[in-house]
């Protein structure tokens, strides 16, 4: 039996629309090149495109969030510790470190500071920075693949590209640092709001924000500077991790030796103790929380508080390092490698 296919009614033409755009003239599809006659956006905020691309590739990887989750642990431990034994701990600390008792409302900032400057936290933040700044989304990876030739042939400047890559590392580290810190802050706020939390620590939210922004900006600037000069992401990882590790080990040893030689903690000794990449961040965090160096979980046998290092030399050191790195990156980023003969 011959069954005719049902007739497909023509699509009604909306008022004002061209007739030929709705019903094709030929049953064969036109696969030839079609011009784009729409508008183009002005070349602003293109850095966000670069940043979004890098973030999407990085944040899509499950292990990124796995590693980031480890950063929750120090804050979680401090929250549990404080919840169950907070007042007892404070009393013990007050006996062991009478200097602490003189500090105004130290208990909450102490928890926050101690969690933030814990070893796990520093290592995770460094790892996240390395993943973002020295991984497959880094400038070094783009250099290796000559991808800058493609990106910089579009109407984006090298400033846009650099800012996009910097922002990727910055946001990655900031998110990983800030989420647990803000969670701990909110925990304090909800549990101790009626017990004078806001009165005791009115600026803790600002201190928390500042201290989480620090490693993000610091790692981002330094990694962008190193990655721009490299064509190998692995080399960038090795250099930056090595630089962190060596200075982190050497600086306190040198500071301790000087302190034994001169039998006192001078500000110069303190600065030398903090003359490492991590030391600068720790020193700045100490100043922001206004806390001497004390670890709540691992109380020393001989009660001894390391005083805060002076603020301005650390600020200047960090700004100089970040400035040099960014300037080096800007000087190096080109679509093509120009070899001088």
């Amino acid at each position: 039996m011959n069954v005719n296919p049902p007739m497909i009614p023509p699509i009604p033409t909306p008022p004002g629309a061209p007739q030929e755009s709705v019903v094709p003239n030929s049953p064969i599809a036109d696969l030839s090149y079609r011009n784009y006659d729409g508008p183009l956006r002005p070349p602003i905020f293109r850095w966000w495109t670069v940043c979004r691309m890098s973030l999407r590739l990085l944040w899509k990887k499950p292990w990124f969030w796995g590693i980031a989750a480890i950063c929750l642990f120090p804050y979680l431990i401090h929250a549990i510790f404080y919840y169950f034994a907070g007042s007892v701990t404070i009393q013990i600390l007050a006996i062991q470190f009478p200097e602490l008792a003189d500090l105004p409302s130290f208990k909450f900032p102490l928890q926050m500071y101690s969690a933030f400057t814990g070893n796990i936290n520093s290592i995770i933040l460094l790892t996240i920075a390395l993943l973002a700044g020295a991984g497959s989304t880094s400038i070094a990876a783009d250099n290796q693949a000559n991808a800058l030739q493609v990106y910089l042939s579009k109407p984006i400047g090298k400033g846009d590209y650099l800012l996009g890559k910097w922002m990727c590392i910055f946001l990655s580290v900031f998110v990983v640092a800030a989420i647990p810190a803000i969670s701990l802050y909110l925990f304090f706020l909800t549990v101790y709001a009626t017990q004078g939390f806001l009165h005791d620590a009115p600026w803790l939210w600002l201190q928390t924000l500042a201290v989480t922004l620090l490693p993000a900006a610091f790692h981002a600037s330094l990694l962008v500077g190193i990655a721009a000069w490299s064509r190998s992401p692995r080399m960038v990882t090795a250099i930056y991790a090595g630089l962190n590790f060596i200075t982190y080990v050497m600086a306190p040893v040198l500071g301790r030796i000087l302190s034994h030689v001169y039998h006192r903690d001078t500000w110069q000794n303190l600065l030398i103790t903090h003359a490492s990449l991590q030391g600068i961040l720790d020193g700045l965090a100490q100043n922001i929380f206004h806390m001497p160096d004390v670890n709540l979980l691992f109380i020393r046998r001989e009660p001894h508080l390391t005083p805060m290092p002076p603020l301005w030399p650390l600020v200047i050191a960090s700004l100089v390092l970040m400035g040099i790195s960014l300037a080096a990156a800007r000087a190096k980023i080109h679509a093509v490698e120009v070899v001088k003969g």
Binding site: L31, S32, Y33, R34, N35, Y36, D37, G38, P39, L40, R41, P42, P43, R46, T49, V50, M53, R56, L57, S136, T137, A141, D142, Q144, A145, N146, A147, Q149, V150, Y151, L152, S153, K154, P155, I156, G157, H334, A335, V336, V338, V339, K340, G341
Partner: protein
């Protein structure tokens, strides 16, 4: 569309290109030359990645170096072997559409259009890391045309492609040229370029040796006589007759069995017009007739050798 006037570019003591002047108009133009000829430098000058040391380069009326206005109307497909492997083809093109300045709302449709144009619709959502070389070339072309540029520059687009891939890419480029785009193709695969265009820029040692139509250039090479190979059962008799013609310089029997005669002439047009009459008049049985000089490779060889000889002198 593209104008170079006495453009030179040095890398310290090394010359990239030297005093190059040329005009590139809409259609396909092939940029030819051996390694180190200055092709890549010329492409980087056109795409605004390098600034000329002296002279001027203008693309669409403006200096291209770090000029976003030019970049909006310029597409570039570099020789990108690896990289962006974690992205899907569609995401790669989408990303570059964002960078090219297309509004977010129109990007999905435009990306689908150009992906369809390059024949990658089925593979667009796979990661680039798993693409074949031909697929990579096609997705590079897609990113190059996603913002609908007036000028498209491609660095070795046929390199490493199989015959089918070459034919497909050649078809894509021809399609773009048919739409009025200015397509500049750098290549060292002379045979394939010959199928792509007759319009060439020939470079060697940083100098522009020749530009224009391949056959016109060939006819202007007076230093090298035009060769024509003729196969015939009566090759010896044919050679004797040919040597009597005033515009024939030499006639050489090539094959051991003497079935082919190779003629050298400085007036190929006269030869081609009078040869059929001579064949009919004497009843020669011609089995094949070809000019090995009438291709790009021989022009390239002649010009490069001549340039090398002059440089030595």
């Amino acid at each position: 569309m593209i104008v170079l006037e006495h453009a030179s570019r040095w890398y310290g003591q090394v010359i990239g290109i030297n005093d190059v002047s040329c005009r590139i108009m809409p259609g396909i133009t092939a940029l030819l030359g051996p390694n180190g000829a200055g092709k890549s430098t010329l492409i980087k000058l056109i795409t605004g990645q390098l600034r000329p040391s002296t002279g001027t380069v203008t693309v669409l009326g403006e200096a291209p170096f770090a000029n976003p206005r030019v970049f909006r109307r310029l597409g570039y497909c570099p020789e990108l072997e690896r990289g962006c492997d974690d992205m899907t083809g569609r995401y790669f093109v989408t990303l570059l559409a964002h960078m090219g300045g297309l509004p977010s709302a129109s990007i999905p449709q435009r990306v689908s259009e150009v992906i369809e144009f390059v024949g990658m619709t089925e593979n667009a959502d796979r990661k680039i890391g798993g693409y074949s070389k031909g697929m990579r070339q096609r997705i590079k072309i897609a990113q190059g045309v996603v913002h609908d540029p007036d000028v498209l520059v491609l660095d070795e687009p046929l390199n490493g492609l199989d015959p089918i891939g070459r034919r497909e890419v050649t078809g894509l480029l021809t399609g773009l040229a048919d739409k009025g785009k200015c397509v500049v193709v750098s290549s060292h695969i002379l045979y394939e370029v010959e199928h792509l265009t007759r319009n060439i820029l020939l470079m060697n040692h940083g100098r522009l040796l020749a530009q224009g139509d391949i056959y016109t250039i060939r006819s202007l090479i007076d230093a090298h006589p035009h060769r024509i190979a003729i196969r015939s059962k009566h090759a010896r008799a044919l050679a004797i007759h040919l040597l009597n013609l005033p515009y024939v310089l030499s006639a050489r029997l090539d094959a051991p069995d003497a079935t082919q005669v190779e003629v050298e002439t400085r007036s190929p047009d006269t030869f081609y017009s009078q040869f059929p009459d001579m064949v009919l008049e004497h009843g020669f049985d011609i089995t094949s007739f070809e000019s090995p000089d009438n291709n790009l490779e021989s022009v390239f060889k002649y010009l490069v050798n001549e340039s090398g000889t002059k440089a030595t002198q």
